[in-house]
Amino acid sequence: MLNTLNGLFIAAVLAGTPLLLGALGEILTEKSGNLNLGVEGMMFMGAITSLAGSYYYEQAVISAGGSPNGILSSAIALLTAFLAGAGGALIYSFLTITLRANQNVTGLTLTIFGTGFGNFFGEYIGQKAGGYVAVTETTKKAFSSLHIPVLSDIPVIGPLLFQYNWLVYFAIIAAIVMAWFFNRSRVGLNLRAVGEDPATADAAGINITLYKYMATVIGGGICGIGGMYMSMVTTSGVWVHNCVSGYGWLAVALVIFATWSPARGMLVALIFGGLTIMRMYINIPGLPVQIYDMFPYIATILVLVITSMRQSREHAQPKSCGLNYFREER
């Protein structure tokens, strides 16, 4: 029993990490007043570009007669995933901030675009590689569980806390840094003002356009890293058609569940992660697999119902979220 629970915990952390990354990116974006529904799309873009980045780097090194370096390979994957997500968010930002297009429509379009982008290039690179695309053992190893001296060897706690891949720790640190950023830093305070009330922030001399662009683009980059987790960790460096499938939407729901707080996001991501992989650990006889697959979505609906019933001004969506700002509007 205890083993099952430990196993479930570890699996929940592993499954929750891409959700956490996606949610963190979206929290940062929404704090600037942009509701970017393109998380799924940006995750797809991050997923394929990171895989392609690692793959082409390895191929280039191997054809030159050398042997690829795992750390360099992961760094390339991280960079390309970030850039791809940021690139998607940049399109979104240009459309909504500069051209003032409707945020919902633009976000949904980005999701459709990113999904197509990921699947198309995934198949294309696979075809050229002769059937499917996969990274070498070196890179796979770089994305597998770490072994931290001493800490990983502590009984019980070691496996529970110190034997994950590096992206898990990356996500947790990102969440803590972001929580600090919103609550303690001057730029974070300004950013919150931009998302709550851009006219006020503008009158206070804050550069609205710059803040919105930066938050949305960096947020998109973090979503892209969440996508990288799907292709490099979850599917172990092999392109699987539709590998992100729905995780981007769960991340959007998680933002609401976490009430726009990165710190709470960590806990909530663990719960959602647990729900997505529950069927492998808790077996209820006679319950079809499909029902298990519905759990995270049922939880999302419940969360939406509960959060809209509870009215709190502080743990709510930034007030101007979803609205474009135009200074001279009369």
Partner: protein, 523 residues
């Protein structure tokens, strides 16, 4: 440019257009150092636009701006702060979920981290210096309107502004709060600060300012010394022709009881009592004024009577005539269409004209039709009669519109209100509830609205008038009910009490005499 330095701000031939609309045309304005200049004009005369060019929100199309003798280009609010200009906007520019101190330091340069203890201390010291009472760590959404205004003023002082622009600062304050604000402004003037105050209340202009500059329809009319002018001259300059400032109160014999409200109680969104045992009666042929600070329950009261808001206790009784037959009904808890079905003719002109009253994107005919389309038989609606009515309203009420096919959202505030009020009056109501009918309207439109209400009163309608300007309420109403924190502080005859009495009743529910003299003692 000798002697130029005695001017804090000088605007020279400034023009600003929005599309085809000219908001400011060739305006010259001078603010002397250490004076309080009132900027007077009707709504839409371009006062706020002009000031927004000083605060960097808008950029002028033509003209020059000099600050402290030097020509400057103000491209953004930041440029404006650098020049020492601080503007306190009419609609507060504060972030609700942040604290007072956080709002004050917003957008300022400084260390990468925000030390809350330190900024709270600094803000508290500044507040004490000018005699404000403010808790720096209080969140804005927990604050009263006057506290929010304090935060706004401290915000610009904290940034070291020595030129302050206040856009209609008294619109939301009680007379007592206004006096306190004026005292603070005089302190600031003594401190060497130059102040521009935008307003359209003449008595305030005369009370606080050294000079008055007047704008009319975007053009600069002139400047006069306050000590050498009076209300009549100012009105004439502002409106362009002499206008009587007297509001008529025709003597009408009080009719029968139309509406009786007994012990009405309701909760607001946070579960706090928004109305607490409110009782009153409204009679035909009288205007019952309702006074109170914004948010004292006025909105809930009229929405409950109109059937739009739930109550938790009490009763509302209506009596009147429907096609010659006397009707007596309890209307509390009925939906608006059920009230109509019972043959009760009640009209409600809500505060939020384009949100609750009219559909901004629809034209006049369609908006008029909203009142009548349900009586159509069959699946088609009759557009001809509503169109005729709309055209009649345009003629009778002198509504300025390109035509009845123009969306009402494109009309000016005064014309929107005429459409709404005209439509409601056209239904021949026996009870007419109007909430802040002249808010944001200029003098001409306001007086037209007062006339319309008086006409209804003469016809024997029970008019309930929720207002914010005490002077108007006192001249127009036959009786005034004063509300405070959801309670009725009293119902008075405006001919027998003073404005100060009502002001006190607005802040102290119940006994108006107690608690007034204690404020100075706490210093």
């Amino acid at each position: 440019m000798s002697g130029a330095a005695e001017y804090a701000v000088k605007m020279h031939h400034v023009t600003k257009t929005f599309g085809k609309v000219t908001a400011n045309k060739d305006v010259n304005l001078e603010l002397r150092k250490g004076e309080i200049l009132a900027l007077l004009g009707e709504n839409g005369s371009g006062k706020t636009t002009l000031m927004n060019m000083l605060s960097g929100i808008y950029f002028p199309d033509h003209g020059e701006i000099y600050v402290k003798g030097e020509e400057v280009t103000i491209r953004s609010p930041k440029d404006s702060f650098t020049l020492g200009i601080g503007m306190i906007h009419q609609h507060f520019k504060l972030v609700d979920v942040l604290t007072a101190a956080e709002n004050i330091v917003l957008g300022m340069e400084g260390k990468a981290t925000v030390n809350r203890r330190e900024i709270n201390k600094k803000v508290r010291e500044l507040a004490e210096k000018y005699g404000f009472d403010l808790e720096p760590s209080k969140k804005i959404y927990n604050m009263s309107v006057s506290e929010k205004q304090t935060v706004e003023i401290l915000k610009v002082l904290y940034k070291g502004a020595d030129i302050l622009i206040l856009d209609e600062p008294t619109a939301v304050l009680t007379p007592q709060e206004t006096d306190r604000l004026f005292a603070v402004l005089r302190n600031m003037k003594k401190d060497g600060k130059s102040i521009i105050i935008i307003t359209h209340k003449l008595n305030e202009v005369l009370a606080i300012s050294d000079r008055v500059a007047i704008l009319r329809k975007g053009e600069y009319i002139g400047v006069v010394n306050t000590s050498e002018t009076d209300q009549t001259q100012l009105t004439e300059m502002m409106v362009g022709r002499p206008i009587s400032l007297e509001i008529e109160r025709p003597l009408v014999e009080r009719g029968e009881k139309r509406l009786q409200v007994i012990d009405l109680t309701c909760l607001n969104g946070d579960g706090v009592k928004a109305l607490d045992n409110v009782s009153f009666e409204a009679y035909g042929g009288e205007i019952l004024g309702i006074a109170g600070i914004a948010g004292s329950g006025q909105k809930e009261l009229c929405e409950i009577i109109a059937g739009l808001y739930p109550s938790i206790g009490g009763s509302v009784l209506y009596s009147g005539n429907h096609e010659g037959v006397p009707v007596q009904e309890r209307i509390l808890g009925l939906k608006p269409d059920e009230i109509v079905k019972k043959g009760i003719s009640m009209a409600f002109v809500p505060e939020d004209r384009l949100g609750m009253g009219l559909v901004a994107g629809m034209d006049m005919t369609d908006n008029v039709m909203l009142r009548s389309y349900k009586s159509n038989k069959g699946i088609f609606v009759d557009r001809r009669n509503p169109k005729e009515l709309a055209e009649r309203l345009v003629d009778e009420l002198e509504i300025v519109t390109p035509g009845v096919d123009t969306p009402v959202g494109r009309l000016s505030g005064g014309n929107v209100q005429k459409v709404l009020l005209g439509r409601e009056i056209a239904c021949h109501p026996s009870v007419l509830i109007v909430a802040y009918p002249v808010r944001g309207l200029d003098i001409n439109s306001s007086y037209r609205i007062y006339d319309l209400l008086n006409e209804q009163k003469k016809k024997g309608v029970a008019v309930i008038f929720i207002g914010e300007d005490l002077d108007v309420l006192m001249q127009l109403s036959d009786r005034i009910m004063v509300m405070c924190g959801g309670k009725v502080s009293g119902i008075v005859d405006p001919r027998e009490v003073t404005k100060e009495d009502i002001g006190l009743m607005m802040i102290h529910a119940g006994d108006p005499k107690s608690g007034s003299g204690n404020e100075e003692v706490t210093a």
